[in-house]
C-alpha cells in the first residue's frame, strides 16, 4: 500500500522533471525557460521527496529529505530571480506570443 503510493508519487515527480526538461529545451526565451526549470525543481522534487519519505527507515531520514527539498526550493527561488534579473539587465528579448510574432516579424 505505502509502496504503491510511493511509486505513484515518484512517477508524478518524474513527469514534472520531464516536462521541465522539455520546457528548458523548447521554450523560446530565458524567462519562460526559467519558469519550466524552477517548476520541475520545486514541484517535481517535492513529489520525489514525498515518495522517498515513505521509503525512509527513520523519522530522521524523512525529515532530512524534507530539509533537502526546502533548501533546493530556497536556492532555486534565489537563483531563478538572479538569472531573470541578469537577463533583464542585459535586455534579453522577451519572446512574443506566436500570433504576435507572425503579425509583426
Amino acid at each position: 500500500m505505502w509502496n504503491s503510493l510511493s511509486i505513484v508519487l515518484i512517477m508524478i515527480g518524474m513527469v514534472f522533471f520531464i516536462a521541465g526538461t522539455l520546457g528548458l529545451l523548447r521554450f523560446p526565451d530565458v524567462y519562460t525557460r526559467l519558469h519550466a526549470l524552477t517548476k520541475a525543481d520545486n514541484v517535481g522534487l517535492g513529489f520525489l521527496v514525498a515518495g522517498l519519505m515513505l521509503q525512509a527507515d527513520s523519522l530522521t531520514t524523512a525529515l532530512l529529505l524534507l530539509l533537502i527539498w526546502v533548501l533546493v526550493m530556497l536556492a532555486g527561488a534565489g537563483a531563478g530571480q538572479l538569472v531573470a534579473q541578469a537577463a533583464l539587465q542585459r535586455q534579453h528579448p522577451v519572446a512574443k506570443s506566436q500570433d504576435d510574432g507572425r503579425g509583426h516579424d
Binding site: 533548501l71 530556497l74 536556492a75 527561488a77 534565489g78 530571480q81 538572479l82 534579473q85
Partner: protein, 317 residues
Amino acid sequence: MGAAMTEAGLFLLDLLLVLTLLCLAWWSLAATDLFKGIVLFIAFGLVLALAWVRLDAPDVALAEAAIGAGLTGALLLTTLSKLASSIDNPPAKRSSPVLLWVLLVMLAAVLGYAIMSLPQQAQGLADTVASQMGNSGVEHPVTAVLLNFRGYDTLLEMAVLLLALIAAWSLAPRAATSCEMDEALTVSPIVLALFRMLIPLMILVAAYLLWVGAHAPGGAFQAGSVLAAAGVLALLCGKRLEGRLAGWPLRLGLVLGTAMFVAVAAAVMVGGAHLLQYPLASAGKLILLIEAAATFSIGLTLAMLFSGQRPSRGPAS
C-alpha cells in the same frame, strides 16, 4: 528476478554516468565560450560526485561536490569576470591533427597499459587499515588514514593551500578602498535574504561535517569548503572584512590550521614519539583539535582565494 532487475538498472545507471561524464568533459574542453566551458565543468564535477557515490566513496563524493564542482566553479567564474575586460578570446591556433592523434593514441596506450596491468583482485590496504583502527583514535577509516596513518600528506596539503593563497596575493593588486567598492556593488534584496537564511545553516553544516568526520564521511576539507561557501556568499553580498580584522587577525586565521597541525605533530615528539605519532589515549581529541583549526583555515583561505585580493587595511566601511 527482482535482484537481477536491480542489477541491470544499476548497470544502466553506471553506463549513463560514464557516458555523461565523457560528453561533459569533451564539451567543457571544446567550448569556445569560456562561460559555457565553466558551467559544463561544474556540471561535470557534480556528475563525477555521483560516480564517486556509485563507487562507495562518499567522502570523495562530498569533497568533489563541495570543492571540485562548487568552489572551483566559483573560483573559475570570478576569474572569468576579471578576465573579461582584458581578453577577447583569440581563436586557438590548431596544431597539426596528425601530431594530435599520435599524442592521443600514445596517451591512450599508456593509460590502457596502466589499467590493464592492475591486478584483477587487489588486496589494497583496506585490511591493514581495518586492523589498525584501534590505534587511530577515530572510528572512520578515511579520517584515520588522512589525519593519523598518513597525517604527513594532509599536513603538506594544508601548506599547499596556504602557498596558493600567498601566490595569489602576491600577484593580485590590493583591494580597492571600501568606498569605491560600495558604489560598484548593488546587491539584490533576494541575495541578502538568502544570505540571512543560509549563513547560520552553513555554519551549522560545517560544524556537523567536522564533528561527524570521526565516525562517518565528513572532515576538515568538506567542512572547510562549506564554510568557504558561506564566505563566498558573504563576499557576493558585499560584506568585507573590517579593516581592523584584515591585518594580523586574518593572517593568524589563515595559518591557524597549518600551525596547529605542526604544533601537535611536534609536541608529541616531546614524549619520545615520532613526528605525528599521537599518543593513543588522546589521539581522538588531538585529531579533532587539528581538524577544527584546519576547517577554519581552509574556509578562510578558500574564501580569500575567491575574493582574489588582499583585503585593504583602510578604515572600515
